[in-house]
């Protein structure tokens, strides 16, 4: 039972890293990014091809590179490449500032990337994907406790990411992003370079998506196009909106509910109630319905966004008596 929970938690925590990144794009800045899952995949694939040995015909896999890098370095590589991907797409897609153009273009990029990677075997193994990454650090930790160790690592990373996102939110940068979300034209009228701010938010989100993908791949050891399509994007967006877009804690709660409870909970239902083959479609139906219901009746989510409070820090108490100016 504990092992099962640990596994679920690892999946949830890595997805939370992605969700916090998407929250910066969607929750803070109001950008509907339908290619988030693509950045996750790019981060994952890059990590795999950096950390694994070169592809040989013996394994039956085909992929580029294969540099045998240590896992942490490969994670860094995956994150950076995902961020670069976001930079390239964003710098072009954000030129058209209107929100729905951007959403459609990101959806297109997601589709094109999905089809291209799936059909082009030499790059990332095509539809078979890549598998066989050994568990990072297992020779030091040992197999018995590895899951707990990995969960701890993921959790620490999530904590750092969370603090980072919260910090940004309270700073002028985060506030500028939120102003853009509320009214782009007014933000421009007050001197904000909307394109640049949106691009920065988009790249940050892409980096975090890549990081989440990299950590996910460290656990699963494998990746193939079947696990990153439009249903997965929908799951991410549903989690964020359900939990509370704009509120990082809300987003984490939303992801726990969506990825954790619903997914794992469905596996507990008696086998006769839902045939095994229908499990996936039923899940997606639930997410779709959940998304619509939440947007209609509680769009702010379970934990709504709360603007940071207006407080002025008290000046430090003087240690000496104020200097009295002598009368002239």
């Amino acid at each position: 039972m504990l092992a099962f929970i640990t596994v679920s938690l690892i999946l949830v925590v890595t997805n939370c890293i992605v969700a916090v990144g998407l929250n910066i794009q969607l929750g803070y800045t109001g950008m509907v990014n339908l290619m988030s899952i693509t950045c996750v995949a790019i981060g994952g694939y890059t990590t795999l091809v950096l950390a694994m040995p070169p592809a040989t015909p013996a394994t039956g896999l085909t992929y580029v590179l294969g540099l045998n890098w240590p896992f942490p370095l490969a994670v860094l590589g995956g994150t950076v490449v995902a961020g670069l991907f976001g930079l390239i797409v964003g710098s072009v897609a954000l030129r058209r500032l209107r929100a729905h153009y951007f959403a459609i273009v990101t959806f297109c990029v997601a589709e094109i990337t999905h089809q291209s990677i799936g059909n082009f075997n030499p790059l990332f193994g095509g539809f078979n994907g890549i598998y066989g990454l050994p568990q990072p650090g297992v020779d030091v930790i040992g197999y018995d406790n590895w899951n707990y160790f990995y969960l701890l690592v993921c959790f620490v990373i999530l904590a750092i990411v969370f603090v980072f996102a919260e910090y940004l939110r309270r700073r002028p940068f985060g506030r500028a992003l939120r102003a853009i979300r509320e009214d782009q034209d007014a933000a421009q009228a007050f001197g904000r370079n909307v394109y640049r701010l949106q691009l920065e938010a988009f790249v940050i989100g892409s980096l975090l998506a890549g990081l989440g993908g990299a950590m996910l791949v460290g656990f699963t050891g494998a990746l193939d196009p079947g696990s990153w399509g439009s249903p997965e994007t929908l799951v991410l967006i549903t989690a964020i909106i359900l939990g509370g877009s704009g509120n990082n804690l809300g987003v984490v709660v939303g992801m726990v509910l969506v990825a954790g409870v619903i997914t794992q909970g469905l596996t507990f239902l008696p086998a006769g109630l839902i045939s095994n083959t229908l499990l996936s479609p039923v899940e997606v139906m639930i997410y779709g319905a959940l998304l619509i219901v939440v947007l209609r009746f509680r769009p702010e989510g379970l934990l709504p966004e709360r603007p940071p409070r207006d407080v002025i820090k008290e000046p430090r108490r003087r240690l000496t008596a104020p200097h009295v100016v002598a009368e002239d």
Partner: protein
């Protein structure tokens, strides 16, 4: 010595143009509908592909009663019309009423899309279904330089007929004029006494009917009925609708021809798996450089 390779590539080219025209017919039905829909509701419907799928499944179900393809298609069209009406009236309008921002409406339609796709998967099961066609459906006809099967001809004929009927509807009927007024400016239409809500509802039914026909045609020519069948060509449909110019149904028609033929011709020369990638790439380029379509006036529409 004259090599016969040029012959091969000419006939390959022509046969792919022939395929392309069939694809274009299906695409035109879906894209013209999408263009009309966006022009009255101002939200790109990510569930538009599912309207095609519903039409195909509707025809499939009708086949339990009759194998008359014509009747089956009609049933499919009715089903799609109803689903489209429901999508707008019960879901989208409910959001518009409370003032939801347009970008979130887009997410809603994406949710509807995935819900419908998977609902169909749950109800009809995983294995691919097949639409039973009349026995002479694959009989080939040589018309000029092209080779088409009987079903290809039927599909193209249906598409042309639908386009002609649509033209008559939009140009000469009161509904048509009202629809064009609403697409141009809902506020102006409203103050001029046009029953905007009713026009919108009827437009959606029309869109559904066209999409349903497209879905049945797609099922008939591709041979299978599957839950994701509409979703997989959604972006291609978007490409035609946007390239043709939102609110310009005839632009969508021309764009459908260009994209449909272009897709099939390129599939003959490069890996056919990328044929949709090319269409989607066209969509991206259209949005970036010509969001008002190839035939645009300077006016910004949506």
């Amino acid at each position: 010595m004259v090599s016969w390779r040029p012959w091969l590539s000419v006939s390959l080219f022509l046969s792919s143009v022939g395929f392309g025209m069939v694809t274009a017919g299906i695409l035109a039905l879906a894209a013209v509908g999408l263009s009309l829909q966006i022009s009255v509701t101002n939200v790109p419907n990510f569930a538009h592909g599912e309207l095609l799928t519903c039409g195909a499944y509707g025809a499939l179900v009708a086949q339990f009663l009759t194998n008359n393809l014509f009747v089956d298609a009609l049933v499919g069209m009715v089903v799609s019309g109803v689903v489209a009406f429901g999508m707008n009236r019960f879901i989208l309008q409910s959001f518009i009423k409370i003032g939801t921002r347009r970008i979130y409406l887009l997410i809603v339609t994406a949710g509807v899309s995935l819900f419908l796709q998977n609902a169909l998967a749950v109800v009809f099961g995983e294995p691919d279904r097949v639409l039973t066609l009349p026995s002479d459906a694959s009989q080939p006809y040589h018309i000029g330089p092209f080779i088409w099967t009987k079903i290809d001809l039927v599909v193209m004929g249906a598409a042309v007929t639908a386009m002609v009927l649509l033209y008559l509807l939009l140009q000469y009927t009161r509904f048509g004029k009202a629809q064009r007024a609403v697409a141009d400016s809902p506020e102006l239409a409203r103050v001029s006494g046009v029953p905007v809500k009713r026009v919108v509802n009827l437009t959606w039914i029309l869109v559904g009917v066209l999409a349903g026909l497209a879905g049945v045609a797609l099922a008939a020519t591709s041979g299978t009925v599957t839950p994701p069948m509409g979703g997989t060509i959604l972006l291609v449909v978007f490409a035609a609708a946007i390239l043709g110019g939102i609110g310009k149904p005839y632009g969508a028609l021309v764009a459908a021809l260009v994209i449909g033929v272009g897709m099939e011709v390129s599939a003959a020369y490069i890996d056919p798996a990328y044929k949709e990638v090319i269409a989607v790439a066209i969509l991206v380029l259209a949005i970036l450089f010509r969001p008002n379509g190839l035939f645009s006036s300077a006016r910004e529409t949506w």
